[in-house]
């Protein structure tokens, strides 16, 4: 029998607000333990939470972008459980009446459009961290207590590990594009649990599912789901039944294994959080947030193609990241040559980012400086090779303007025809063999003469002028 995989994902996305969800503490990552804390996030007796409006706005932004219904009235709830890194003994979350419901995310996979429906998106707070590696005792770091999260719950619409990964990638791209999260999976800004089941191909009925936790990279998600699918098929084929349970992915052992039932068997006793008033989203707030939404990648790519006349492929690549797209537009504006700018980004810029393993936000050459560099080439001040191989490389290491580098290092292009003509004459007279070969039909040697001339002129000659003069000389004699 052939089996079909059925997966639904629950993704926790850490928001990048400056302050926590319910108090004014900083959310800064990596601060010394228990320094970003206050009576509220430490759950001191008598302290009360107050909802950070930015958390609500982020939730609404994501909800609008993923075609959800935004609840005009929603409530926070308490999820009660005891854990040492949960100071209040409950997590403030949403249960009944979440802020966003019934939406979808669409993405391309192998040339086809795939849609995964969303059950809901809700707001909640993170817990602290238990630290076990100092001596015998366990310590608590409460810096992360109260850091805002969105939980995005999908319908079981995913049918392959590739789809699961593509869905996550798309979700990550959306939150980054909206600027509400850095979407970094390895650092835990995106955390994913998967509900996995299998069923005979063609069957309408869902099989019994297991919940897989602890997948902290895109690769883990693929591997864990793949493993779990194979495990379930194996169980069914050997006549067994699937137990509904929570299983942990162990990336080292490359397997999922059941959590102890004690850890999984929770009655969270959800009830409305009485310390927070119901959240009302007015039409005014909604239209305000709508107006603030950035132009989405697909829309922007289409605009790039028509406005800047760049290839669709380039437009798509440049719009995978909002900051990259912003970078492109700024540089293009500065130099006035969108096509050349696109070539630079697709070539030098993306290659450098990849080599250095950095994001565009950390790229040492600001959009404006790149724009000026491109315009120097356009104006003939330097040639393209000098720009790429010399000036661009220097700009990576120093904040100097391209004009200053050109001036300081004497890189300006030589367009003086008599000087170039003189050098060409020297090259031709020094290469009688090549000249004879050329004349006998080896026209490929044209490049050799250009190269030799450029070498003599330390790469600074205007290549177009070399071409013109050389062509004339070779043809005339």
């Amino acid at each position: 029998m052939e089996y079909e995989l059925v997966v639904g994902l629950e993704v926790h996305c850490q928001l990048n607000t400056k302050t926590k969800a319910f108090c004014g503490c900083s959310t800064e990552f990596g601060a010394p333990a228990n320094t970003n804390v206050c009576p509220v996030c430490l759950a001191m007796p008598g302290a009360l939470p107050v909802l950070n409006k930015q958390v609500l706005e982020s939730a609404i932004k994501l909800g609008l972008t993923t075609h959800c219904t935004i609840a005009p009235y929603s409530i926070m709830a308490r999820k009660n459980y005891f854990y040492p890194d949960l100071p209040k003994g409950y997590q403030i979350s949403q249960y009944e009446e979440p802020i966003c419901s019934e939406g979808y995310i669409e993405f391309d996979l192998d040339g086809e459009k795939k849609r995964v429906r969303l059950v809901r998106i809700h707001m909640e707070e993170d817990a602290g961290k238990s630290i076990h590696d100092i001596g015998e005792e366990t310590y608590i770091d409460a810096n992360r207590c109260g850091v805002p999260l969105l939980e995005i719950v999908s319908y079981p619409d995913i049918r392959s590990t590739k789809e699961a990964s593509a869905y996550l990638q798309k979700l990550r791209a959306i939150v980054r594009w909206l600027g509400i999260s850095d979407g970094n999976m390895e650092e835990g800004s995106l955390r994913c649990d998967a509900n996995v089941s299998v069923r005979p191909k063609g069957s309408e009925k869902f099989g019994t599912r297991t919940e897989i936790k602890n997948m902290n990279s895109f690769k883990s998600v693929e591997n864990a789901i793949q493993y779990e699918m194979e495990r379930q098929i194996e169980v069914l084929k050997s006549g067994g039944t699937i137990v509904q349970e929570t299983r942990l992915w162990d990336a080292d052992k490359f397997e999922t294994r059941p959590m102890r039932s004690k850890e999984a068997a929770h009655d969270y006793r959800y009830f409305p959080e009485p310390d927070l008033v119901p959240i009302e989203v007015s039409d005014e707030l909604l239209s305000l947030i709508k107006a603030e939404l950035p132009e989405m990648p697909e829309v922007r790519a289409t605009r790039f193609v028509s406005q800047y006349q760049i290839p669709e492929y380039d437009a798509k690549v440049i719009t995978t990241d909002r900051l990259l797209a912003d970078y492109y537009e700024e540089a293009a504006k500065v130099c006035g040559d969108p096509k050349a700018t696109s070539n630079w980004i697709m070539g030098e810029v993306l290659r450098t980012l990849k080599e250095k393993a950095i994001e565009i936000s950390a790229f040492p050459i600001e959009a404006k400086r790149l724009g000026v560099l491109i315009s120097l080439v356009k104006q003939g001040v330097i040639n393209g090779n000098t720009a790429k191989e010399v000036v661009f490389v220097k700009m990576l290491d120093e904040p100097t303007s391209p004009q200053d580098i050109v001036k300081r290092d004497g890189l300006a292009q030589v367009s003086d025809t008599s000087a170039i003509e003189k050098e060409i004459a020297e090259v031709l007279s020094a290469s009688p063999t090549q000249l004879a070969d050329y004349r006998s039909g080896k026209t490929k040697l044209f490049g050799y003469f250009v190269g030799e001339t450029m070498k003599r002129m330390k790469g600074k000659a205007n290549p177009q002028i070399i071409n013109d003069i050389l062509k004339r000389k070779l043809e005339s004699v």
């Binding site: 005891f82 003994g89 409950y90």
Partner: protein, 480 residues
Amino acid sequence: MSNFVFSSYRDLRDALLSKSISVESVVSAYLSRIEAKAHLNAYLAVFKESALAHAKVLDEKLASGKPIGKLFGMPIAVKDNIAMKGEKLTCASKILENFTSIYSATVIERLLSEDAVILGKTNLDEFAMGSSNENSAFGAVKNPINESCVPGGSSGGSAAAVGGDLALVALGSDTGGSVRQPASFCNVVGLKPTYGRISRYGLVAFGSSFDQIGVLAKTAEDAALVLEVMAGEDPMDSTSSNKPVEDYARASLDPKQLRIGVPKEFFTDALDPEINAMIQTVLEKLKAQGATLAELSLPHSEYALATYYILATAEASSNLARYDGARYGYRAKEITDPTDMYVKSRSEGFGKEVKRRIMLGTYVLSAGYYDAYYRKAQKVRRLIRNDYLNAFEQVDVILSPTSPVPPFKFGEKMHDPLTMYLADIYTVPMNLAGVPAISVPIGLNAQGLPIGLQLIGNLFSESTLIGASKLVEATREHSF
């Protein structure tokens, strides 16, 4: 004002401003009385040095001619479930016996900014759960009027402090009657404002959607003055209201304009006949002054107590989860793992009544029971609230007993929690409805025990409530 006993803040303020006495001498007199009446067990902590030091600062402030606050020199006691930075915050529980707060409640900041002097922290039923103050881990409080009787609860220490002249005013908290019932038992005024009128930031939560800080004082005017200072929106409490704060202390009413509702559900066989008779006397006097009386019905009253004990305990079970021994408070010795730490610390740290309510609340929120209990109780709560809102379309205030019985003896009701819960039968509905209510003393019964009556107002109608309270107070002055 002989022996520095004042019948109202106005008397004290006049004496201070005329410089016939100093704040220091007043505070010193109160501190001496607290010491002399230590056996009442009204206070859990007395801030002898800091109160005297503060008094001196205030005296200098007055002498220097600087502007003085609305509560200048007012000696106030604070229920020990309200946070003060650097002071212990025990909630009369073993679990917080050695806990010191790292911040102050909003109300404390506001009182201090108006030059009140805080004398100390008062005893209470553990985590404000109780009606007799017998649930304190640090011993019961004696009623200053009759020391063989309980002072009521849970703000028993605060009521005893004001009733025994160990403070001029005291803060309490009222979740189901915890300010009003002890006020009536100790012969003082007890005001529970509208839910949201005063910030709860720094009040240790029992039932978050019910809790409200209240004032115990000798007169309605004093209570109103302190309310004025504490009321108003607080960015630290999103359930605090942004409605403007009125001049509550100056509120007054023409009795001829006053429509008083008398709910038939509150005057039944459950009510002590003598209390009933005393209330009828007051009603007749008010009527004689021109007030209109109207019998009315609050049809869902009989469900109030059950509804309250489902919802308030549900919230309490969650609110008290933070006392787990992990970060602060009592932690049991000899623990093996986190679960063992929770079980032992909480079993040893909490008292019987608190544990009873945590279990009750946990039960009603549990899977399979939520709909039958919590959700249904929420619906009934709405019906009860509507009863009140409907009634206030016809009347300005509702008048009722505060307690069905006079102050009772120690141990009398401790054997049966249900009997104890019935002590709150007239005070609980207002916390369900969120409306303000006040208990005003109307005299002593034949045994010499204090009796109070309760006035209930519409949401945010504290001015009306205070105005009506002054009329009730006046009926008493006329009779004595």
